[in-house]
Symmetry: C2
Subunit: 431 residues, 2 copies
Amino acid sequence: MTEKTETKDETVATSRRRFLTGSLAAGGAAMAAGLATAGPAAAQGESVITEIQDWNRYLGDGVVSQPYGVPSRYEANVVRRDVEWLTASRESSVSFTPLHELDGIITPNGLCFERHHAGIAEIEPSQHRLMINGLVDTPLVFTMQDLMRFPRENHVYFLECAANSGMEWRGAQLNGCQYTHGMVHCVVYTGVKLKHLLGEAGVKTNAKWILPEGADSAAMTRSIPLEKALDDCLVAFKMNGEALRPEQGYPVRLVVPGWEGNMWVKWLRRLEVGDQPWHQREETSKYTDLLANGKARRFTWVMDVKSVITSPSPQAPIRHGRGRAVISGLAWSGNGKIKRVDVSIDGGRNWTTARLDGPSLDKALHRFYLDIDWDGSELLLQSRAIDEAGFVQPTKNELRAARGENSIYHNNGIQTWYVKADGTVENVEVS
Amino acid sequence: MTEKTETKDETVATSRRRFLTGSLAAGGAAMAAGLATAGPAAAQGESVITEIQDWNRYLGDGVVSQPYGVPSRYEANVVRRDVEWLTASRESSVSFTPLHELDGIITPNGLCFERHHAGIAEIEPSQHRLMINGLVDTPLVFTMQDLMRFPRENHVYFLECAANSGMEWRGAQLNGCQYTHGMVHCVVYTGVKLKHLLGEAGVKTNAKWILPEGADSAAMTRSIPLEKALDDCLVAFKMNGEALRPEQGYPVRLVVPGWEGNMWVKWLRRLEVGDQPWHQREETSKYTDLLANGKARRFTWVMDVKSVITSPSPQAPIRHGRGRAVISGLAWSGNGKIKRVDVSIDGGRNWTTARLDGPSLDKALHRFYLDIDWDGSELLLQSRAIDEAGFVQPTKNELRAARGENSIYHNNGIQTWYVKADGTVENVEVS
């Protein structure tokens, strides 16, 4: 198997660096529509290799040398990483998707961020059951095989932890989008609409809520309005075509499109139907948003419109010098599709509409690009997404003005990357 | 890492079993639109487990226990497999995608079938170059970094080997769709349009063809008309969001949407521009279609409209007995999108339109479903795809009548699965 090296990046800068928007020289880079106008990015004499490489001389490994394939050993740094000081233990922690190394809108299963409350439940599927009880006509127990007999659907959805970018509320400056925005992934789910299973049990007329419960030792639970459950929720058993991964709820998880990740209960073993919310631990002590006045916002389910530039970024500096360069990033919204993404190279003074690429799907990641001709001067890179419901991604300061700095969850503020003349990139804030 | 067990399935039945369409009892199963009408697939007393499982008692593994995640150990049989007698060596062989275990339209990178002519070239990307030469104004050499500076695009495309289903021309009866149809996969590619690179070099007015060449020790080459090269071909460096896998051409391959897989040159190191085809080994001695009269069809690039039922199938029998059942399959066409898929349960006498599910994308796999209520009688399952250009998938006998039985390539004939009363499934032909 491929060697895995877990690089220990320095994750927090020792000092906070804030930028005044005015500190950038005007006209730092010229925007180019389509192909950049710089000379060819190729044909430099030094790029020609005259030596014949081994891979051109000798037979390589044959088929099925890896029955389940793995990445090239030259990609060993493309891995999930955690931040050790963040939580008391790795069983109650989070790892982050290496967004800066990825492209397009699909996250490979092996790189989807993890968030556990009691570690990874390693379930034997033949021993797993899903029960529906509470305010139903007929309580039911399903085997995995039973679930496979209902009409199936496939949907591409992003999943974002409510705490994604949470460390940024108070201006922490983590060295890379893997840490600032890596608690999001996007895959194709295959599953059964929850409404079919609830229909089979027969929901009573006074029912208003459901409580999904996990089979891990945290028995994770969240209250979800019945209206959402009957709308687009899926009981999913596959991701990106194959079985769910253990760390993503194998053999079955709930999919709650557009809503915060902790509601997508993994290792799903029970669905209780009730007439009011249950006020469980993970919707009272956690996953509520403490405001400056001491009150907490609760049941803040929808993940707001958001975006981030993934390259260049602190872990993905510009290494090629001046000339044509690709700015690339991701945008998403729990309200539906992304309508537009704007990019600024001068800390938000001027904006240019980016190119959205790939299929635009409801509540999925969207990939955007802006092709520029970089003159080598400093940039303050930002992206700002607008969704089809009309929501515009706010600045971090606008969010702080509205909610104070005690919040952990639901930070969808605009991110700024400071690109230096040597192409290295820092996480900064502009004010 | 997950244990990998390579199951040695029996891949060829010892006797040929042909069915007369009339041999099936009429009305073997009733079609149900939407939910099947049988009783609940759940709530049997025996499905309740009273024991508390370990995964509900103890903490599981923490985050980053696998920096690059792997499947559950209970999925160890979901792997690529080869057929050892098929080729002289594994370096010049093929492995097959386990289609019967997958769902949706995306193939996970670790399960994409392999086809090599000289094994897997394991390339160090910093030592790789792509050259454009021949009838151009300025011959160019690109590093991988150079390629990343051009405007990028993302597209979902199927890739099918021209020899997929090739063993079926003469009626071989392989035990499962992994072997009959598993030389196809479908992923999201990220890359640069070939036309941008050719534009940079400046194609001369008398140019009509290009010759892509691989950096493996087979130096794989195929002639491609310039018109296709300037249309939708991509020079791709990512699949499903991450770097190409070594067995799929890492660090860079050609993508030739809808055309036969051997033209999608892996480990791409050179693109020559010329005014006529080169008549290389792989377009004369191989990848031509020998007809009954001794003449050979050549330059048969487009992969024709095709489909297969992936479940139930010989490797994925019906294990749940009578009642509601899901028939699931894949359809694709090199001509564009799939317009419709019909399913027959009686060997082609009667047809029902299946439900197409998931995004319908140009030259991509399409997933179809038919939800039925199975009465336990024998079925002769078939699927028939129709593409947006109006092409209809033919029967195998129609193909043989037109081309004889000497062909290896381009068999897009209708596949038949014989579902027995006990739910097991065999590969058969109807006549």
